[in-house]
Amino acid sequence: MLTFNTLVVVCFLYVVLLFLVAFGADKRARRSKVRFLSTPMIYTLSLSVYCTAWTFYGAVGYAARSGLEFVTIYLGPTLVMIGWWWFLRKLVRVGRSQRVTSIADLVSSRYGKSNLLGVLVTLIAVVGTTPYIALQLQSVTLSFAVFARDRSAGWAVPDLEQTAIWVAGGLALFTILFGTRNLDVNERHHGVVTAIAVEAVVKLVALLAVGIFVVWGIGGGPQGIAAAMDQVIQDAPEGAWAMQGGRWVGLTFLSAAAFLTLPRMFQVLVVENVNERQLAMASWAFPLYLFLMSLFVIPIAVVGLSLMPAGENPDLFVLTLPLYFEQDGLAMLSFLGGFSSATSMVIVASIALSTMVSNHIIMPIWLSTRLSGAAEYGDARQILLAARRLSIGAILALGYFYYRLSGGGAALAAIGLISFAGVAQVLPAMAGGLFWRGASRSGAVAGLVTGFAIWAYTLFLPSFGEAGVMSASVLANGPWGIEALRPQALFGVDGLDPVVHALFWSLILNCVVFVFISLMSFPSPLERLQAAQFVNVLDHTSSARGRSFNAATSEDLLVMAQQIMGAEQAQAWFQSQAEQQGKQGYLPDTTPDFIARLERELSGLVGTATAHAMIAQILGGATVSVDDLLAVADETQQMLEQTSLMEAKQEELATTARQLSDVNEKLTQLSIQKDAFLSQISHELRTPMTSIRAFSEILRDGGADDPEAAARHASIIHDESVRLTRLLDDLLDLSVLENGQVQLYPKREAVRTVLDRALAATSSVIDQEKVHIHRNRSDEGIALYTDTDRLAQVFINLISNAAKYCDAKGKRLAIRVRERGGELQVDFVDNGSGVPLESQSMIFEKFSRLSDQAAAGGAGLGLAICREIMDKLGGSITYLPGQSGGAFRVTLPVRARLHQTDNPHAQINHL
């Protein structure tokens, strides 16, 4: 037979067990055996602090009153968890990389380490969570009372208030012992988390056991439950089991939002997270946990409604059903399940809240009473721990007093959703901060204040009832009779459920104000740095460069860090940092990188804003300088530069490749040309040789008896050998010119003289071909200083070419001389058909002849020699298209030096 005393004893033993589990886990953690403690399974189970006594007991009551709707409280978190890749992964990554200690810390850190935001979020969390803690105390007290009431004959009814105070005290003790046992840089509590995992199992097993007992023990299996359900639906008041779309959607969203923003959920979800593999498993395992928790809720509610006496509190069916059917063991288990739910929630919530209160309210106040300097932090560690402990005590006391004041009535039961809606106000600032770089501090502050005020006005204050803060007339007619301001029908929107109404207005206006002010405001540099780090956390894990200080010695920093991290730990950390910089000893250089890391280490202990303020106090500058921003911009700039550099290089490569292919083509052409040259040479040499041989053979064999014929043969041999000699002369000349071993003999002479000489030399051809020469002798007085013999050679070549190849009837050659811009131009224009366009580029090559006019007697080297000569003289020879006939232009600088001749008087130039 289960007595109240047995209950107390079992309860006590259970608590002792939890103490032992927590103690053991902490011990393991201290021996660095955290592998087991950080398994994904423990993490998943610790998430079950979401299921408080309100859900353990309340879900059945909820289902008994409104049917399926209770499930929305679990559907929201399910959606959040299965969408972890999208949101939670980023949140957890930010939490880890920034060493975030609480949700207030996250928001404060994101918006430029603003302590104002930290305080705001802390206040919202405290206001939203305190009633919730009161609710847990109530549920434990109520469950004790159930046992006391049933066996009241013979036993004294225990003092309920006393139960509540004992529970609150015990929880405070447990939380202080294990929650503030260590001052960890990661703010992780292995002992507490493991104890909570154990409690999660107890909860689940208890509810499943009760469910199985109800369905197959007394409900008559699934068919029996279905039948009972139909009966219950018929008996229920009209519309109780209907689905209300607004509430269904609104509550699903609300539970999803609260899942992310409740301080205790943030604590287990983000702060206690060790790696992303935990999250991967929790993404399906935690929804499964919720699924199992809610699987038997409807059957228990249905059976309870149909079998229990009327007027029984449906909130306690989980407990009263086994008791009613004399299943004491099951009732005991069920009680422990409810007890676990309540205690785990209170423990984690008070740890989370105490961290927030001490980091964002107590430490900044304490800090501001100090003057700057490292030596002032002598007792920081003790102060911090004392602040944590004090906060835990205060929060639990606050919960207890709230419970006492509210009287533990029905008003408290509704507080669950109200609390959810309150903390959900942090969501816009949090989500906006993670995904939108433009979200600013002013926007976040304004949004939070707006949302919180509307929540308080439309939901929180009216929840105290008409006797509370708001009078009945205010509720019915609005303040001062203004209908539009009625708390539960703001702006005339009535007909909505109060919770959905409040959620709608508070979050909508919260978001609108947040976005609007963010768009209008201009964030500080530090804020923008943080924004970039938060939003891009998945892209790169490297930390942005921090400030650079030279004035601060690392000794000051070490002194401060020792007082906060503990001497041993701080020294070890500084030593490892110094080692990383390649230094010996304990004092690393105060590089920006080192400062940033130290700040992050400290923020794991005292929160971002406080750590930032402490370091700023020592370093004497809390603001980000322009240099820091430039450094960040520099990285972008460097990337851009690298890209453009790559592009330039690519272009360069393309150019080189083009050049190479050009050169290759030229080489191929040269090779072809060389072959052609060789075959030409052989041909040119062979033709005269053949005739010389033939005629000399005739002479030798006495074939020409006739002396006249012999003389003719001899003259042919002579002519051919002359031609051969000329060809060889030309070749020699060309080769000398091409190899640059030419000797130049410059002298001063007028163009007229040179031309006269050239014409005199070619007079025989001119007379033979009857060429008419046009000259303007008055233009030809320009004096030259050059190797005029060579120049005359060019002129001779051009004149004889014109004489030989001009195909006009009355051959005419015009020679025009003029000076243009210090250059002498001599044009030789005949009246023939000229050179066809396609051949113009070829005529200066060796052995190029327009026709096979061998009769002309040239080997096709004349123009090639001309070009080489002009090149050596520092001028050029070009074909001049578009004239009346064939036209060549010889250009020569009047005063220019000879090609590469430094000393014009040098007689010999070995070029």
Binding site: W84, R181, N182, R277, A280
Partner: protein, 103 residues
Amino acid sequence: MRTPREPLFLARQSYRKRRIEDAARLLPLLGVILFLLPLMVGGEVGSMRLAYVFTAWFLLIFSAGILSFFLGQNLDQDASGEDTGRPESSGGIDKTSDDTRRL
């Protein structure tokens, strides 16, 4: 000799990995749709709708489980690269902090 079914993509693994990530992003959307469907039917909630909600819920959990199996494999690779890139989380520091974090 060419096998008749030669893979078309060379980076099949990374392609599959990205598609799994897409699926993980879309899954909550599917959840929202599944959980909104019961609203399309009016009237009291019967056993049918009860069964539907719980079945849909379980299917989502099942899909999330399969996806997280593959995503978890990818995380292992990512994590190894991540650790080397972050000197502040080097093992030496954590070990010493474990030893000294008691009060």
